[in-house]
Every structure is written in structure tokens, then in C-alpha cells.
């Protein structure tokens, strides 16, 4: 006498193998994207991070021009790597505003003097308040903000050469 119940373990195991095999074939995506994309930038108030550029206020992000909002820090090595590509974006006409995370004015000044300053305005987010409320996952990170202050796109990690045309395209879309 054969009992179908004795095959239940096999069925459960087959289901496990199926799910595991499916998952193995999926590309692994470790990024956690912000739930704020498509929504307005949260309210914030910041001091200026550097003496030679004005600070950042929510009104600056609603002046009708789409912008790149670059979240960075002078203590972050990938931010050094991304500096030339930010400069390239700037050279191709992208307006960039910066938010320096947990940074000191003198360190910000040293960083900008050494690696260039593509920013129109730089705010200082001393307690990562904006970073958390905008759904950032780390530094560096770049958001595309449209002229009405709506977050349109999030780029996680440092900007590399191949991302420059992509970000320019996103910026153009945000202006339509």
C-alpha cells in the first residue's frame, strides 16, 4: 500500500528547490531605493556648509529649474572618485546643489579646493536629518529634483563616467 502522504516532504522540498533556483537566476540587487521618489523634497533648514557658497533652503529647490541634489561629505573616499564626473556634469550645463553630511567647514573648504567645486549652493546636514527624511542610503548619492521640488530620480553610489549622460537625460526629462 502506498500512501500519498509519504510524498509530502518531497513536494515541500521541490517547492524550496524551485524558489531557490529562481532566486539564483535573478540578478542580486542590494540597493534600497528611496520611497520618496515622486514626492516633494521634505522640509529642512540648514546652515551654509562653506563660506564661499550660499546655503540651501527648500525654496531654492522650487525655483523652476531642475537640479541635481548631490549628497556627499569631505570624509568619504568615493566622493573624491566622483568629483571629476560632477565637474563634467557641471560643464555640460547641469545645475548642482550639494548637501554636506556631518562635516566641518574647514574640511569642506579643503575638499573643494583640492577636488573642485561644482556646487551652486551647499547646505550642511549636521545630523543627517535631510539625508534620512529624503530616504538616502549613504554617501555619495544624487537626486534629480524638478523645478517644483519633486524628487524624480535617485542615483545611489558614486557617479561614474557612464552615468553622466544618464543623469543629463533624467534632468532633461524632469524639465519637460
Amino acid at each position: 500500500m502506498n500512501n500519498w502522504r509519504f510524498f509530502l516532504p518531497l513536494a515541500v522540498f521541490a517547492a524550496f528547490i524551485g524558489v531557490a533556483a529562481y532566486q539564483l537566476t535573478q540578478p542580486k540587487d542590494e540597493f534600497v531605493y528611496s520611497a520618496m521618489v515622486g514626492k516633494p523634497v521634505p522640509q529642512f533648514a540648514m546652515r551654509a556648509a562653506s563660506s564661499d557658497r550660499p546655503g540651501l533652503s527648500p525654496a531654492d529647490l522650487k525655483d523652476g529649474t531642475p537640479k541635481l541634489l548631490n549628497i556627499w561629505a569631505s570624509w568619504c573616499p568615493p566622493c573624491v572618485a566622483e568629483a571629476p564626473h560632477l565637474a563634467a556634469l557641471k560643464a555640460q550645463g547641469a545645475p548642482i546643489v550639494g548637501v554636506a553630511i556631518r562635516d566641518r567647514p574647514e574640511d569642506v573648504a579643503t575638499f573643494l579646493a583640492r577636488y573642485g567645486n561644482p556646487y551652486d549652493r551647499i547646505g550642511a546636514d549636521d545630523l543627517s536629518k535631510l539625508q534620512l527624511s529624503i530616504g538616502g542610503s549613504g554617501v555619495p548619492e544624487t537626486f534629480v529634483i524638478d523645478g517644483n521640488g519633486i524628487i524624480r530620480y535617485q542615483h545611489i553610489g558614486d557617479i561614474r563616467a557612464e552615468h553622466v549622460p544618464l543623469l543629463l537625460e533624467k534632468l532633461r526629462e524632469a524639465g519637460e
Partner: protein, 648 residues
């Protein structure tokens, strides 16, 4: 040359595993002498060749032969010798070679000594063992060759991850492997018995030492791993419900259930199909664990040797072995005759409850570990953490512990609860007293409270089987049970006390400042640089005084290794009979001050002490069983020779 010798031995061992499989299969099919005579020798030679191959790898690491890729990527000429040697298995390829070495050594051992099972069952068992080994040989030889040479020898090696340069961790993986692989023997026995329809008490007795041995190693491995994570990672925690930890806990849970059901089968010839099922499940858990850890399919804090390609390979092996075994189970389990019957209130009844509860806990852990995988397939990301594991696990742990208190007092086959009521009331009173005392003195959460009361009750209940018996004539196996159950109580008290009464203090101290945590007052005396063989560090010298008593010196370090560059924290521990003070030196806070983290953890050491007691119980039971088997074997042999003398 050494590497080539090792590789050649590995290929030969693989060929012998194939021979073991084919000869065993033919012997089971046709029970002919020629092929059957090959099975045991093949297993023994295979074990010897594999051990030789592993010895070659260790030798390469001892010499730091940088023309071998594995050595160059995982070792460094400046490393202390013990970590050079442990580097041989502190990586994917080497650990897989260790895995097959242990597996083939176990195969060789059963081929050499196991004589009480029908020869046909033994052939099926060894064929299964050869089949499983063959898959792992293929894995090693085709996708993870440990002996691969570099086209050009490297000038210097990359070094071993500094977190792994620790004496505890040098021996933690091999211990766990012995456990995992010991379960492969139980698996082969189960498949062999199922194929030849010989699920008998003899089969259970043959399998039991392997289950016990594997279980002891798993217990030690988990205990050591937990203590290592506790003092080396510097987070003050001892268990994180991380997938890698769960991967070692799940086989342990299955092995614990198997250990108890195999006892029922050996003593009473009951629970036949269930024991076979557990034998398959226990080894599947080892393989599922290996798969989860190595494939990188789950995100873990200690992701180890992650590679999706290797993951696919292990998944295929898993599908073949476990799928195959479960298919055979489905076909054959119906034909395994039902075992002896027993009353619900009996030793067997209690052991069945224990098995059901352990399986439920296993299900809870398995579900929690795999849940992110399931939901991710549907596009939802979740993470499952302690709130789920602790509360869902407790639902089954509590009834299991209650039954565990009473079970050993019951008689086999049928008993009345009224007969054991007296001693159990004593244990219950102890538990209630502790419950009341803890409620009055402190008000911890509900789980620690239950844990403390149950733990205290268990300490008493676990000793009850000793009452009225001559301690000197008590069988070793019974001592083993008593000590292991006592150890469960000890661990439970440690866990509950740690979660109920721990105190934590995070302070920024200037040299000369003090901080208080629990009954301790800790003063930062100095911060000095120190240098080791392949690291340098800053060391915080602290004086800690317990309740105003004589101060003891603590010296936690923040170390920077340079091969490879990495920072680690070396916590400092001060152990008293009633707990541990745990100190970690952090980064320099603004200028003159240093971040210092302090914990006072009352009775935390009981967690690992209990773990060791559990393992000791297993060792005693194992010794008792093996000694008994050996005596019985001598008696049988003498009786046989006597009979031969009497019949000329």
C-alpha cells in the same frame, strides 16, 4: 609537486567513490560475492587517499607555497603558524576539501568496524555514502580546485581575514563540519535501511553513535561560534538569528530530534518511518545550510565564500541527494511495517512530543530564515529578526521543556502520571518560587521570566531520574542524559539572565575618568599604543572594581591589521562567578576623550557552560553506547566460538 600529489590523490579518491557506488549498487541488486567484496575496501582506501590529499594542502599552507593560488589568496608568510594551518580550511576550497575528507574518513570507519547490520544493508549504506561523496568530489575538482597553481608565483600572500585570526575560530569550522558530515553517515544509513527494507532496532543501534557524535560536535561548534561572536565582534551579543547561525542551528535541532527518535527505535522498535525521515532531514539541513551560506542567496552579516555559481552547484547536489532520498522515502515508507505500539503516557509518548516540538522549532527557524527568499521572489523585501524567532520559537520551546522535565521519569510502553506526580511537584514548586522571587526583585519581560523559572525547575527535574538508583551502577548513557538535560537548564538560565539583567553603558572618558555599570566602577587609566606580529593597536588600560573591591586590570584594544588592512576590536572580559564585565574601546571622541562601551552581564557565562555540559552529556552517552556495543560484540564472539567447540 606537493600540490600535484594532492590533486592526484583527490582524483583517485573520486574514482574509488565511484567504484564504491557501482559495486555497492550491484551487490544490493544481485547479492553476488565478487562485487560485494569490493565495497568495504574501496571505502577504506578512499578515506586514506582523501586524508592524504588534505594533508598535502595543510603542508602547502605550512610552507606558504605562493605558487598555489589558494595559498597566495588566503595566507601570508608573516602569519603565526597556527593561523597558517587554519588558513587551509578558512576558505571555500579548503573547507570543501575538509568536508569530503571527514566524510570519506567516516565512510572508511563504518566500512572497517560496522558488522552488526545485514551485509546487504551495509552495501546499500556504503553505496549511498559513495554517491554523496562523489558529488562533492565533482564540486571540488570541477569548480573549486584547491590545488590550482598560479601561472607566476605571487611575491606575497593576501593574508587571512583578521577576524578569523583567532584561536577559537581556527577550530570552530572543523568542529561544525564534523557535525554536518557525521549527519551524512546517518543519512546514508537511513537510505541504506530504506532501500533494503531493514528498519530494525539493530539499524538504530548502528546509526546511534554517529548521530550522537555528530550532535556532540554540532553542540560544541555552535557553543564555540557563539562565544567567538560574543567576544570578537565586540557587540556584546551572543546570538543574532543570522542566516549563517541558523544554518548551524537547524541541523542541530534535527539531530536532537533524531537522537531521541533513534533511541525509541533502538529500545522499542517504534517510530520507524519517522526516524528514517529525520535521518534524511538532518543531513538536508546541513546541506541547505551550506547552500544558503555559500550561494549568497540570503544577505548575512558573515557572508562567507559567496559565489552564485557554487550556489547552483550545491543546489543541484541538494536536489539530487535530498530529492532522491525523499522520493525513495515516498515510495518505500509505506512498505516499512508499522513498529510497536505504545500508550500516550509513556516514555515513547514523551519522546514523540519532544520530537514534534523540536520539528516545530526547526520549522519556525527554517521559515524565518527562508522567508526573505520567498517574499523576494514576489518582489517584496522583508527582514526577519529576533522578535519573530524569540516569540514564535518560545511557543514550542516551553511545552517541550515541560515534557522534558517529566519524560525521563516515565516508563516505556505505558505509565500513569500519578506515579511520577510527587517528584514533579517538587520541581514545579522550585520553578514557582523562582518565578515569585524574580517578580518581586526585578520585573523582566515575560520571556526571560518564564525562562528563569523553567530553567530552575529543569535543574531539579533533570536530576530526578537519579533518585532511588545506585549512582555507581547507573549506566553511562543515563548519566549522559541527566547531564545534557541539566545543561539545557543551565543554558536557559544564562540566556534569560543575560536578557533580563544586562546593563549597558556608553561613555566618552578622558584618561582618569570613571564610569559605572551595574555594580562595577571602571576607570580609564591610560591609552597606549601596542604592536603585534601583523597588527598594531591602541590599548585602553582600565581598572575595574566590583562593589568597591580590589580593582582588576582590563585592556581592550582597537586593532589595525595590515595584511589585509582591516580594523577589529578586541574586547576585554572580566569573569566573576556571577557574570561578566565586558569592555570595548572605541574611537577617539573629540580630542582628549575615548569612547568606551561597558556591559555588565549577570550569569551570561552559563549560556556556554550549559552548552559544554550538553556536549559532555553527549560524550558520556556515546562512550556508554560504544562500550556496551564492544562488550556485546565480545560476548557474541565468545558464544560463537564456544558453540563451535561444542559441535565438532
Amino acid at each position: 609537486m606537493i600540490a600535484e600529489l594532492g590533486l592526484a590523490a583527490l582524483w583517485l579518491a573520486a574514482a574509488l567513490a565511484a567504484l564504491q557506488l557501482v559495486a555497492g549498487f550491484l551487490a544490493v541488486r544481485r547479492a553476488e560475492g565478487d562485487m560485494a567484496a569490493l565495497v568495504r575496501p574501496a571505502a577504506i582506501v578512499q578515506g586514506a587517499l582523501c586524508a592524504f590529499s588534505f594533508a598535502m594542502l595543510v603542508w602547502l599552507f605550512a610552507r606558504t607555497d605562493l605558487s598555489v593560488k589558494l595559498v597566495a589568496t588566503n595566507s601570508h608568510s608573516l602569519k603565526p603558524l597556527v593561523y597558517k594551518l587554519s588558513g587551509a580550511w578558512g576558505n571555500h576550497e579548503g573547507s570543501m576539501l575538509l568536508w569530503v575528507t571527514v566524510m570519506s574518513a567516516a565512510g572508511a570507519l563504518i566500512a572497517g568496524v560496522e558488522r552488526r547490520l545485514p551485509e546487504r544493508t551495509m552495501h546499500a549504506t556504503l553505496a549511498a555514502q559513495g554517491f554523496v561523496a562523489l558529488g562533492f568530489y565533482a564540486f571540488l575538482l570541477f569548480s573549486s580546485n584547491p590545488f590550482e597553481r598560479l601561472p607566476l608565483p605571487a611575491l606575497e600572500g593576501n593574508g587571512l581575514n583578521p577576524l578569523l585570526q583567532d584561536i577559537g575560530l581556527a577550530f570552530h569550522p572543523p568542529t561544525l563540519y564534523l557535525g554536518y558530515v557525521g549527519l551524512s553517515v546517518a543519512f546514508s544509513f537511513a537510505v541504506g535501511a530504506l532501500l533494503t527494507r531493514a528498519v530494525t532496532p539493530d539499524f538504530a543501534r548502528a546509526m546511534r553513535p554517529w548521530v550522537l557524535g555528530a550532535w556532540v560536535f554540532l553542540t560544541i561548534g555552535i557553543t564555540a561560534g557563539s562565544y567567538w561572536a560574543y567576544y570578537e565582534l565586540g557587540w556584546g551579543g551572543w546570538w543574532f538569528w543570522d542566516p549563517v547561525e541558523n544554518a548551524s542551528l537547524m541541523p542541530w535541532l534535527a539531530a536532537t530530534a533524531l537522537l531521541h527518535s533513534v533511541t525509541v527505535l533502538a529500545a522499542r522498535d517504534a517510530l520507524r518511518a519517522w526516524t528514517i525521515m529525520l535521518g534524511v532531514v538532518a543531513f538536508s539541513m546541513s546541506m541547505v545550510g551550506t547552500f544558503l551560506v555559500r550561494s549568497g542567496i540570503l544577505t548575512s552579516v558573515h557572508a562567507f565564500a559567496v559565489d552564485p555559481k557554487r550556489g547552483s552547484f550545491i543546489l543541484v547536489l541538494l536536489a539530487i541527494y535530498i530529492g532522491g532520498a525523499l522520493a525513495v522515502f515516498g515510495l518505500r515508507a509505506g512498505t516499512v511495517a508499522e513498529g510497536e505500539r505504545f500508550a500516550p503516557v509513556s516514555r515513547e509518548g514523551a519522546l514523540v512530543v519532544n520530537n514534534v516540538m523540536l520539528s516545530a522549532i526547526l520549522g519556525v527557524v527554517l521559515l524565518g530564515t527562508l522567508y526573505p527568499l520567498l517574499t523576494e521572489a514576489m518582489g517584496v523585501r522583508v527582514s526577519v529578526g529576533p522578535p519573530y524567532f524569540n516569540s514564535a520559537g518560545a511557543i514550542f520551546v516551553v511545552p517541550m521543556l515541560l515534557v522534558m522535565a517529566a519524560g525521563p521519569l516515565l516508563r516505556w510502553r505505558s505509565d500513569r502520571l500519578a506515579r511520577v506526580r510527587g517528584p514533579l511537584v517538587v520541581a514545579a514548586l522550585v520553578a514557582l518560587t523562582v518565578l515569585a522571587a524574580v517578580l518581586i526583585l526585578a520585573a523582566p519581560g515575560i520571556l526571560p521570566l518564564i525562562g528563569l523559572a523553567l530553567g530552575a525547575g529543569l535543574l531539579v527535574a533533570s536530576l530526578l531520574p537519579l533518585r532511588g538508583r545506585s549512582l555507581r551502577r547507573l549506566p553511562l548513557a543515563t548519566w549522559g542524559m541527566v547531564i545534557a538535560h541539566f545543561g539545557i537548564g543551565v543554558t536557559l538560565i544564562g540566556i534569560s539572565s543575560e536578557s533580563a539583567f544586562s546593563e549597558e553603558r556608553l561613555a566618552a572618558l578622558e584618561v582618569g575618568d570613571s564610569a559605572e555599570v551595574g555594580p562595577w566602577r571602571v576607570t580609564l587609566q591610560a591609552v597606549t599604543p601596542v604592536a603585534g606580529p601583523n597588527w598594531n593597536a591602541i590599548e585602553g588600560v582600565m581598572l575595574a572594581s566590583y562593589g568597591g573591591g580590589a580593582p582588576v586590570r582590563l585592556a581592550p584594544q582597537a586593532r589595525s591589521f595590515w595584511t589585509p588592512p582591516q580594523e577589529t576590536t578586541e574586547s576585554a572580559l572580566e569573569t566573576r562567578w556571577n557574570g561578566q564585565l565586558y569592555a570595548v574601546l572605541g574611537k577617539a571622541a573629540d580630542g582628549q576623550r575615548w569612547q568606551v562601551r561597558l556591559w555588565w552581564k549577570p550569569f551570561v557565562t552559563l549560556i556556554w557552560l550549559g552548552g559544554l555540559l550538553i556536549a559532555l552529556g553527549g560524550v558520556l552517552a556515546l562512550l556508554g553506547r560504544v562500550a556496551h556495543d564492544l562488550r556485546r560484540r565480545t560476548v557474541t564472539r565468545k558464544a560463537a566460538s564456544r558453540r563451535a567447540e561444542l559441535q565438532p
